[in-house]
């Protein structure tokens, strides 16, 4: 069976900076993948290409075996590919509830009145129930991240792209997030998760990839990858430089 989401030989450069140098990736149905890599490695760019916000210079994006490289982000979303942005992108002039209703109605292609329950339920699960009628523009960064997650889930995704959603959470909140993501997985959603909080990743994923210099330099069982010398070198290198 074809993987649910596949990047096939993706290349992308900004001016002279090569951020993706022939990257391939396959996410199987039901799988959860983690991606780590130093800042500026091109992790977010890879998500932008997968979700259609950015066109690759070369290579293809496939969804359930279908070539979607030329599809707009909204078409990809309606097919079941949802993205939670690293820098939250709320609809600032709408309420928190309305933000989720938009995603639920359009991302899942359902009539507005039919999604109210689901939207309310998602706010509850993402810890935003008591802020449902607040303006999204007034939320703290943490709540914006929660909203980002709630909105992505509201589109009823088959594949969920999470970009650093755990940054800045307390230990307790991080634990709740991991539980939520496990829940989402159990409901049949496949996940790609970019994250710096490694222990949160390790608790939730099957496979870990390390992005560096425009390529995946390591991939495999998460704990083994973390222990591998090459990865240690990069992170140590950064630590030593810093």
């Amino acid at each position: 069976m074809a993987p649910l989401l596949a990047l096939d030989n993706i290349s992308k450069r900004f001016g002279a900076v090569v951020v993706a140098d022939g990257i391939s990736l396959a996410l199987n149905a039901g799988e959860a993948l983690g991606i780590i890599g130093p800042n500026g490695a091109g992790k977010t760019t890879l998500f932008a290409i997968a979700a259609g916000a950015l066109a690759p210079d070369a290579g293809r994006v496939l969804f359930a075996g279908e070539d979607i490289t030329g599809l707009s982000p909204d078409r990809r979303c309606r097919k079941g590919l949802a993205r939670a942005f690293q820098i939250p992108q709320p609809f600032v002039g709408m309420t928190v509830f309305e933000n989720v209703v938009v995603a639920a109605a359009f991302g899942a292609g359902e009539p507005e009145a039919a999604v109210y329950d689901r939207a309310a339920d998602l706010l509850d699960r993402c810890g935003l129930a008591d802020k449902a009628n607040r303006s999204a523009g007034g939320l703290t960064l943490l709540d914006r991240k929660r909203l980002e997650l709630a909105r992505a889930l509201a589109t009823k995704p088959r594949v969920l792209l999470l970009d650093e959603v755990a940054g800045g959470l307390t230990e307790h909140e991080c634990h709740a997030l991991v539980e939520l993501i496990k829940d989402v997985r159990a409901s049949g959603v496949s996940i790609v998760w970019i994250e710096h909080i490694v222990h949160a990743l390790l608790a939730s994923i099957d496979r870990l990839l390390v992005l560096h210099g425009g390529r995946f330099i390591a991939a495999g069982e998460p704990r083994e990858v973390i222990r591998s010398s090459q990865v240690a070198e990069i992170y140590m290198g950064i630590a030593a430089d810093g």
Binding site: S72, D74, C77, F85, Q89, G93, T95, E112, A119, A120
Partner: protein
């Protein structure tokens, strides 16, 4: 079941006030003199033009500086239909809408290839093309323009007074129709999408909204409304020329001023903006061309002090909404969610 509520206390007051104001305006012929009625009718046309531009630029993010193309098209349709086919002016006003909507489709296909500032320039170039085409039509007076034949004007009503009342009520009806249509649109599923696009296009797209199609639809709808108002404006003037019909000053610069002052991206903004604009115009008009500079100063001052306009400031400070557009989730005592 989730229940969602649209109204808030301020919106209930707002709707009541709007109803009261509308009744007073409908009965204005009882309390206002001719000059006041003319002024009010002109204000109605500006409320409508500004509301349409607000939908286009404030919500759909299509910053057009060429809406005079459709004002002028509507105006010229009124004259062409009347002079060539004897269509009564009131009917011509109604026909102008659908015709302009059809014309706007190929225009949109062309200018939608442009982005940002290039889009704005493209709309202006289109309007200039329309103006040049109008000045080539000898049967409609070419470059110097033409008056509406007296026979058509006289056939509108038995007396001049009745004709003026007819035009006043038509202006009021059209402005109200434009506002109600925009309100209904914003309350609908499409309005939800449009508000999302207003706030964040990137997020709207990645939430499954077909932004391009939505923008296209808004462009065509605005052309429809703008041309009807254009026809009405030149029915009030009784004379048309390429320069007045396609005036970037009258039909775009003033309209942008109104929307920016009142509050862009808010349905209430253009109404507030029109009132401010006419107050300024009536008090400063004696100053001659200095009045334009004063307007500019006011615009800059408002943009610095309240970048979201007067209504934006009110919303920010007081949380008012005049019209019940928001969807508020109502939590049941049982803990089960309902949305109102």
């Amino acid at each position: 079941m989730s229940r969602v509520e649209h109204a808030s206390r301020s919106s209930r007051v707002g709707v009541a006030l709007a109803g009261f104001g509308l009744a007073a305006l409908a009965m204005a012929p009882l309390w206002a003199d001719r000059a006041t009625l003319r002024l009010l009718a002109e204000m109605f046309t500006y409320v409508a033009l500004a509301s349409l531009w607000n939908l286009l630029a404030g919500y759909a993010g299509l910053v057009s500086v060429g809406q005079q193309a459709f004002v002028g098209l509507g105006g010229y349709l009124l004259f062409a239909l009347g002079i060539q086919f004897g269509v009564p002016p009131l009917a011509a006003v109604l026909v102008a809408g659908p015709v302009a909507a059809l014309v706007s489709i190929p225009v949109a296909l062309l200018i939608f290839r442009l982005r940002g500032a290039y889009f704005a320039i493209g709309t202006w170039v289109m309007a200039e093309v329309f103006r040049l085409m109008a000045s080539q039509i000898a049967a409609l007076g070419g470059g110097s323009g033409i008056s509406l034949p007296a026979s058509l004007v006289l056939a509108m009503a038995p007396t001049r007074q009745w004709r003026e009342l007819e035009i006043y009520w038509l202006a009021l009806a059209l402005a109200v129709a434009v506002l109600v249509a925009i309100f209904v649109l914003l309350r609908s599923r499409h309005g939800l999408a449009l508000t999302a696009v207003r706030d964040n296009e990137l997020a709207a797209q990645s939430s499954g909204i077909d932004v391009r199609r939505l923008k296209f639809a808004v462009y065509v709808l605005t052309a429809f409304g703008t041309a009807m108002i254009g026809a009405l404006i030149f029915l009030m003037k009784l004379r048309i020329s390429p320069d007045t019909a396609f005036s970037v000053n009258d039909w775009t610069a003033f309209v942008i001023f109104i929307v920016v002052i009142g509050g862009i991206g808010r349905i209430e903004g253009p109404i507030i903006g029109t009132i401010v604009f006419f107050l300024l115009r009536q008090t400063l008009a004696d100053l001659g061309s200095l009045y334009l500079m004063m307007m500019g100063t006011v615009a800059i001052a408002v943009m610095l002090a309240a970048p979201k306009g007067i209504w934006g400031l009110i919303v920010e400070r007081l949380g008012w909404q005049m019209l019940p557009l928001q969807r508020r989730l109502v939590l049941e005592p049982s803990g089960k969610a309902r949305a109102r």
